[in-house]
Amino acid sequence: MINQAEAEVSTDIEHQEDGQQFLAFLLANEEYAVDILKVQEIKSWGPVTPIPASPDYMRGIINLRGTVVPVIDLRLRFGIAAKDPDLTTAVIIARTFSDKGERYVGLVVDEVADVYFLNEAEIQNRKDVSAAISGEYVQGLSQVKDQMVIVVDLDLIVRSSLADFEGEEIE
């Protein structure tokens, strides 16, 4: 499921021979990838300030150079058992757009793995994934060196995570 915003962005990108760049990360030993153009930066894990009355996957808020950024634990968001942060735990700062404009959201992952070039053709549009996570965020599957990579839709994750408890409709 490619949503509107995604589709618009990808038409802007100059497709190289090797395809688009994706940032791969690990969650419970499975490899996931997100469009690298939606990644602002990667931070190491640090203390967060919890937000009262928020879902458990909302880890809290952090200070990103003076602006307050919420942090989503992707393990909890994907329904994977929680894990204590360790040295490799990283926060991917995603840059997405909402009706209010640019929005930065942090995503906690076990480990940042690699950057892959993936062709759109290489990403099989498959929903029936055997991965631990629910299919709705999955954009497709790809194969890198005999290893399966699950391409997830960053925009949708952010939007649904913030909308879930706002009672907002997801487009």
Binding site: P47, P52, G66, T67, V68, V69, P70, E166
Partner: protein, 686 residues
Amino acid sequence: MEDFDLDNLKEIFLQECGENLDTLENGLLRMGDGESDADLLNEVFRAAHSIKGGAATLGFSSLAELTHHMETLLDEMRSGKRNVHEEDVEILLSSLDVLREILDMSIAGDNTEHAQFRPLEKKLKDSVAAGAAEDKASDSESESDSPATEEQTVEEDGEGTLYVQFKPYNEIMIRGNDPMLLVREVQMLGDSETKLSIEDVPEWSELNPTHSYMSWTVELHSDASETDIREIFEWVEEFDCDLTISKVDPDAAPVTTPVEEVAVSQESTSDSPAVASNATPDDQPLKAAAKKKAADTTIRISTDKIDDLINLVGELVITQSMLSRFSASESQVDIEEFQERMAQQERNIRELQESVMRVRMLPLSFAFNRLPRLVRDLSKKLEKKIELVTEGAGTELDKTVLESIMDPLVHLVRNSLDHGLEGPEERAEAGKPPTGKLLLRASHQGGAVVIEIVDDGRGINRERVKNKAIESGVISADDKLSDQEIDNLIFAPGFSTADEVTDVSGRGVGMDVVRRNIADLNGQVEISSTPGKGTVISIRLPLTLAILDGQVVRVANQEFILPILAIVETIEIEHANVATVPDTGEVCRFRGEYLPVVRLRQLLELPGDPIDGKLVVIVESHGKLIGIVIDDVIGQQQVVIKTLEQNYKAVPGFAGATIMSDGSVALILDPPSFATEAIQKIPEAA
């Protein structure tokens, strides 16, 4: 690029124009009150003149035209040729209103003619003509010969006649100057008559087409000074021409143009074809939007403030260089001196922070100055005599706060005029002087600005307020309320005591909006009244929206900020007499009252035993007190408010977040919404 510059100029003009209009309005109001000293008249005249000048330069022709007529009228008053009549002031004031509207239309890019433009223009002209007739009867001397006019030409700003003789040298055009352009610029300074001299033009056979042989004499009726004119010729005066400027016609044949004639000729040149149009209601939102935009973008800062900043930054740099010398030095550092420098740097930075915040501060006079007009017009309409007094107009407030307080303030003043103050008869009956007094007082009170609106009117009729409130379902008949609570009922939504709905007030929307607007600014509004004696409405506002004086408190090892403004008292829990009332929740006894108590740990579902807590902070919101149980108080500090909504969403109970000195984020508790949240969770104590 050119467009950009022009836009920039326009923006500056529009802003200045707004200021000049305010000056004009205030001056006219004072004139209306019978003041007519020269300083005042000059000030008013100058304001009108600046508007005209700017408007003409930037092509706002209708603005320029109307101001021109106002100026003519004002000039006659200023030069003592006519007395200040009430009717004239009235016409000038209504012209001013139209100027404002034209200005708004221009901002919105609407260049159609204002419906009131022609009628007012005519009125102004008639007024001038009537004055002129009056003059002729008493004084037959012609305009430009009168001593008054002579005097003005000496004065920089005065209207007068100048003769500009411009004889370019032959080669002027070769050097890239166009004499015609210069002449036109002179003509644009005011009404003018230009004579061209072609005496020096040679025979055709000898004529060099790249040379200029002509000279001009411009008879200029304007308020431009000699300096203004010389400025136009700045580039050519020294090497390329002969320029003489005099008050006497160099051609020795003085022909003075009567004023009326000039006015007509001026009109015929600048008159645009009349376009029938009215300011349609559709324009309104557009205008408002444009106006808002203009208000948002810029701020005018006094040079003093900027100089302060520059000095401070200088200090900062000096101290910094001293500190770097310490860090670079290889030998043992004198720790005491180092600490001293560090302390100095800290002071510098704090001062710098304060100065930077001051940049956003504007005096309350910006808001107060708009009120005399309102009071004047309204009291006329309501047939009441009211004297408006302002105190502490120099009190400074953040620009955003100031702009947002304008509407509530206007509303409260209208309300006092309509409901509070009585007409002369009623006042006489009550044994009060016939003129009612409305006092606006602003002052600093412990980190906040308090604006009070005090009237000596009839006060609040508590019986009627209570009955109305019961009638409209705001309270129930068996509610027991203190006097103060009854007074504050007027801020309840959907409440109005006016028997008749007037266009002044009485619709019952308003006071609750006022309260909400003020609450949005983190402020509070309260009313207290003495029947028969008057009413005091006090608005308490934070100095700024961006920075907040906060108390850092700790619950379950998490730090929160409580706005100091909301804190009434902090007491140890053992001394707070916390008790549990069945079906109600916890209450504590404070100053003879029972207050609902919330435990922050419990409410926010923080880890630990929910009943843990050592201190009870009594906070006030909307006149109600609640107790909040926390673990510890850490200290006071100024915090910069960061919004949660930008990347996340608003969190109920919190006003935002802030970055602490260690770089971590702390949430700022918002007592009003927090109290509502808390009271919803825990049923309120009876």
